[in-house]
Symmetry: C2
Subunit: 330 residues, 2 copies
């Protein structure tokens, strides 16, 4: 295997390989969850997450607004802290940029990061800048904390749990595909939907509420697409899942965009990626407690005994294997 | 200024701009030192540093060994923790790489990072991988801790202090320039010097010893070149400096390489960069205490009242202004 390319091993194959090389550590949670969890004296764990946005992969310089890119760079990391039930606190920002980049772009990028950070209570306290003739890279490391009794991870989903999600699914992908194609919808509601979805908003309040009330058995943020992230959560918990495709929450915007793009909105919701909603495994009887905390959830499936495949009940009532593994980088 | 390129503002101009946009934070030390310092309950501060290695800027794929690149990616960050008197603990590794990169390269890169981390007591606990068709990027965030009473920063150099450095200066630059030119020295001692200097070794033991014994008034790691880093330390401390060029510690290897490359070894030592030695401001009478702790230092100058320029006493006995600002990325 050593002589093949990383693309033939795939992102998650590579992560497994890296995890084996690194071996066991003294971290509470090391490689393999949304954020690393480090034990510290006192009542709180330290959380640390890193997420990189790469020009040409995650955004295009021609279409991105620097301020939006900055907000997004923070939000995707806050989302990783949210799924552990944590509180974001401090960020380090590492940039690689071309010498010819405008100062105004860097200004606006930081304005966006500062604004998004502030809205979540996080501050930028350091970083690094490097030059490159290659793509612009925005790499944010976010630190936070979580009360030791409140930590939620990917591990812990129990057979019989419901699987529920915040918000709607597929918006990130639908809006991106539409933007890449160019053109704007005539409906002002849809125009504002596109603007909103260009910058995801991490579900930090929901994540904390579910964690503090001890309602979530396991949690993950949906960054790779629902089908991939259901798989990640199930593998970590040693369980299986059956989804009900008829119950996937799909926004009016995603439905419209799917029609425009001639895509199946269910497929967009299942494998779109970049939604940054939370996927939660929890007891069915706790749904009303979540509701009363102000956390709106949609039940999309159920945890079943471990199986090789994630299954989904289709629109027509037939059961199929979910083959999508979600967004992979290679 | 907003409409010009980042290269015309320069790395340190850009950092100042970013620092203004970010504004004051609740961190003990935010942007502008080797590592961020965060207050935590208990006796220790949290330290966090990030350093990015970019293909084509910091290394070339054609000449780099993956294992060496990995060790270097860790060492340059450990050096940032060393200069604060800290203990490295946990690393997050963020990679951007081409789909065609060999798996063996990634394996060896991580083997190198794990080995270097282990030698300093630090573990890899997370990270991120992204694809890019651009240059390979290795971005490491390292966090650690320091006893609250032992923290050393760039601030605190006092007029009358001596300026002293660990090790020798210019080796990183001399070896890199020699490697880029190609060819190998006949002398086996010089060959082993090149191998050693390809991967810097962070002065973590020395940094901790000086900090714990409260011998260092101010400290910085020499990553941008001595003349630049003296300037950074002096500006932060609100003082000036006079260096004595005749006392700069220069290795036999750097002397030889400078001759081969037709460079002045003093210039290489002053502005080479990538040495990852420590520069310390301390009381002259504490030098023997440092020596008895096993910390070998060479006095290279003295702290004087604040002045616009850093001055240096040349080989011929005349005083000159040091114009070099050290390594800048733009």
């Amino acid at each position: 295997v050593r002589n093949v390319s990383v693309s033939s091993v795939g992102e998650f194959g590579l992560i497994e390989r890296i995890s084996n090389i690194v071996g066991p550590t003294s971290a509470v949670i090391g490689i393999g969850d949304d954020a690393a969890v480090i034990d510290r004296p006192g009542d709180f764990y330290l959380l640390a997450a890193v997420d990189m946005l790469v020009e040409g992969v995650h955004f295009r310089l021609a279409t991105v607004e620097a301020d939006e890119l900055g907000r997004r760079a923070i939000e995707v990391n806050v989302s990783d802290i949210a799924s552990m039930g944590g509180i974001p606190e401090y960020a380090l920002v590492s940039l690689a940029m071309a010498p010819a980049l405008r100062v105004s772009f860097v200004d606006d990028l930081y304005q966006g990061m500062v604004a998004a950070g502030r809205s979540h209570g996080a501050q930028i306290v350091g970083g690094n800048i490097a030059s490159t003739e290659g793509p612009l890279i925005v790499d944010v490391t976010l630190f936070g904390s979580v009360a030791k009794g409140d930590l939620v991870t990917r591990v812990g989903a129990q057979i019989g749990d419901v699987l529920a999600v915040t918000g709607t699914l597929g918006d990130g992908a639908a809006a991106r595909l539409l933007t890449d194609r160019g053109g704007s919808p005539p409906d002002p509601d849809l125009q504002s939907w596109i603007r909103r979805t260009r910058v995801p908003r991490a579900r930090i309040v929901e994540g904390q509420a579910l964690a503090r009330a001890h309602l979530a058995h396991a949690m993950i943020d949906i960054s790779d697409g629902l089908s991939g992230d259901v798989r990640h959560l199930c593998r970590a918990s040693g369980v299986g899942a059956v989804l009900d495709e008829r119950s996937l929450p799909i926004s009016r915007g995603t439905a419209w965009a799917s029609r425009e793009l001639k895509l199946d909105p269910t497929e967009v919701a299942l494998s779109g990626g970049e939604d940054y909603q939370l996927l939660v495994a929890m007891a069915e009887q706790d749904l009303s407690a979540a509701e009363s905390l102000g956390v709106s959830l949609t039940v999309i499936g159920r945890v079943v005994p471990a199986a090789r495949d994630i299954r989904a009940l289709s629109e027509n009532g037939s059961m199929r294997k979910l083959t999508g593994t979600g967004w992979e980088h290679f």
